[in-house]
């Protein structure tokens, strides 16, 4: 009966006398915790290496020495050095937008208890995008600081509308109804956006590059104003790990465990809207990162959101930066925007993951 187990030996007649060894802690034990921490560290190292690569690689091929020189002995008159420096905000933007989308996707899957939840599918990115297009078309907005408020408004309105539609009927906002409402609203919002775009060449031009999702051509004036919003959103979402763990057991059990389900959902949604709104305003609607990364992460961490969230935060920019770097070199002298490359690279990886594993549920 006990073969194969060395720690859990039943001792007839002495129930309740075992003192749990430290290695049998709740979340798979301290040993498992250390292993996950090591994985997380490895992921951070990969991310740092990718960020360095992102500074070194581009449409203009530069020798490594020149790249290093641009940092050690920067010469403003040197055109090559300027090229390298222009890659810094782009890299930072990839890190920020990727982290935001990964974190938001993981939190969304937890809060909606739906493996298909993703800022792209749930209508949030579509809401942000439509709001930005409306801002460009109606008010002639042309700067990031203008975009971002429209993006927040659009993301928040879309999130609330999806939730309200899904809440209709007796069972409330079930995961399936949330996904259906989100997908339907997404489609509707994107067609509205297209209506505006086909009717206004001017808006289309200004919007075109932003829309496909990209991190190129953005400078510090775009990146910096987004930072406080991202910081607040990330702080909120990173603190929801335990909450999402209870919520994963179903609303009834979460309530039975003393969680105020409505309140915690709203709080998490606020974090998600801040992250998605900013990421969309920064880089355009980038899909797929928020969907695929949390799934991939679960293969490493299991279903514990206290680990899924930080892993998603680190690994999502790995995908986005990697996609951006490859996008810079595959179609020389042109570039493929990161938003397109993430889907191109991510889709096969995702299919492989789902087919290989025993399902990538919650």
């Amino acid at each position: 009966m006990n073969h194969g187990t060395t720690t859990a030996v039943s001792r007839p007649g002495t129930p309740g006398t075992t003192v749990p060894s430290p290695a049998t802690g709740a979340s798979g034990g301290a040993a498992a915790g250390r292993k996950r921490a090591a994985w997380l560290l490895a992921a951070v190292v990969v991310l740092v290496l990718l960020a360095a690569t992102s500074l070194a690689v581009g449409a203009r091929g530069l020798p490594l020495g020149t790249v290093l020189e641009a940092f050690t002995r920067f010469d403003p008159a040197n055109g090559d050095h300027a090229v390298v420096h222009a890659r810094i905000p782009r890299t930072v933007l990839g890190l920020l937008a990727g982290g935001a989308l990964g974190l938001a996707g993981a939190a969304m899957q937890g809060v909606a208890r739906n493996p298909l939840a993703d800022p792209g599918i749930m209508g949030v990115n579509a809401g942000a995008a439509l709001a930005v297009v409306t801002g460009i078309y109606v008010f002639g907005i042309a700067s990031f600081s203008g975009y971002i408020w429209f993006a927040f408004l659009g993301a928040a309105v879309a999130a609330v509308v999806v939730y309200l539609i899904a809440s209709l009927g007796r069972d409330g906002a079930t995961p399936v109804k949330l996904a259906l409402a989100g997908a339907a609203l997404s489609a509707g919002l994107f067609s509205l956006m297209n209506v505006i775009l086909v009717s206004s060449q001017d808006t289309l031009d200004r919007f075109r590059f932003w829309q496909v999702g990209g991190v190129a051509g953005r400078d510090w004036s775009v990146v910096l104003p987004g930072l406080p919003f991202l910081a607040v959103g990330a702080a909120i979402v990173l603190l929801t790990g335990r909450i999402l763990n209870s919520l994963a057991l179903g609303d009834d059990i979460a309530r039975g465990l003393g969680q105020r389900v409505g309140l915690t959902r709203a709080l998490t949604a606020l974090g998600i809207v801040l992250l998605c709104g900013t990421a969309t305003a920064l880089a355009g609607p980038i899909g797929f990162v928020g969907l695929v990364i949390p799934h991939a992460v679960r293969f490493l961490t299991g279903p514990d959101y206290r680990w899924i969230l930080p892993f998603s935060l680190v690994l999502a920019p790995v995908l986005l930066l990697g996609a951006d770097i490859i996008g810079r070199v595959v179609l020389l002298p042109g570039e493929v925007p990161a938003g397109i490359m993430t889907a191109l690279i991510g889709a096969p990886v995702f299919v492989w993951l789902v087919r290989r594993g025993k399902g990538a549920g919650l």
Binding site: M1, T5, P15, G16, A26, S27, G256, L257
Partner: protein, 270 residues
């Protein structure tokens, strides 16, 4: 210590009134079984008693204090609940799932502690699931899974435990096993237990106290011997029956009488 009381309780789903002006007490330190026909409001009552459903009228009190005005987390340290069809996240291990029952004992500044470890360990031992601790919940049989969920509820360490049909989908042996386990818990820790149960015979055997419901109202409450009678079965289930002493436990045993397989002499005898 922990007395759960409903007074003039009215519970509604949307506009449909399921329970209307019901008053009932769940006696302390006892096992109470709530029985009744399908859709009589017994599960709804349990949801009302456990704060899953906000009353449209009346109050539910625990130790004299309204459960809807107490802080949620504090209440969850006294009142535990296992709903009918709990779902476990894919890939979660037994020990992890049971550990999530510790949620109300933790906070932002008080994370996992040795006390939590001990509570989980004891819950696993009490439910005989210690050997399963490292297994994935998806790989378990129905009976094992139900024991794990009960272990999660035990890890919550509450004085009152409400269970909604904890034996559904289990074979007879597992049904008995689960009810034995709950009885152990009641006898060892003095936990007040209220269970919604379909099987009237098992309810009559394992209950200290039976609450029989019909159309959202309580029609009888008391010891199984006093409450479970042929008249009650006729009234609540609209079913003819014979009630005899259970040859094993001497509690009431209901023998249903349908239209078939009934020799005509039986009608003459009765």
């Amino acid at each position: 210590m922990a007395v759960l009381n409903a007074k003039d309780l009215t519970l509604k789903y949307d506009q449909r009134c399921v329970v209307d002006g019901l008053s009932v007490e769940i006696p302390e330190g006892r096992v109470t079984m709530i029985v009744g026909a399908n859709a009589c409001g017994k599960s709804t009552l349990l949801r009302g008693l456990s704060r899953l459903l906000k009353p449209a009228g009346g109050t539910v009190t625990l130790d004299g204090k309204d459960i809807h005005t107490r802080p949620a987390r504090e209440l969850a340290r006294t009142l535990g609940l296992l709903p009918q069809h709990p779902t476990a996240p894919d890939g979660i291990t037994v020990r992890d799932l049971v550990g999530r029952g510790r949620y109300p004992h933790q906070g932002f500044f008080r994370s996992w502690s040795p006390q939590d470890d001990l509570a989980v360990q004891q819950a696993l031992e009490a439910t005989d699931t210690l050997e399963l601790a490292g297994r994935n919940v998806d790989e378990l049989s129905g009976g094992q899974r139900q024991r794990v969920w009960i272990a999660m509820a035990l890890a919550q360490e509450t004085d009152v435990l409400l269970l909604d049909e904890p034996t559904t989908y289990l074979d007879l042996a597992h049904q008995v096993e689960v009810l034995d386990l709950i009885t152990d818990l009641n006898r060892r820790r003095g936990t007040t237990v209220a269970i919604v149960l379909h099987d009237l015979n098992l309810a009559a055997r394992y209950a200290d106290n039976v609450i029989a419901m019909k159309a959202g109202a309580v029609v009888a409450q008391g010891t199984p011997r006093d409450v479970v009678t042929e008249g009650l079965v006729r009234n609540v289930f609209n079913l003819e029956s014979r009630v005899i002493p259970d040859p094993v436990s001497a509690t009431p045993l209901i023998i249903p009488i349908g239209r078939h397989h009934v020799p005509t002499e039986l009608e003459l005898v009765s």
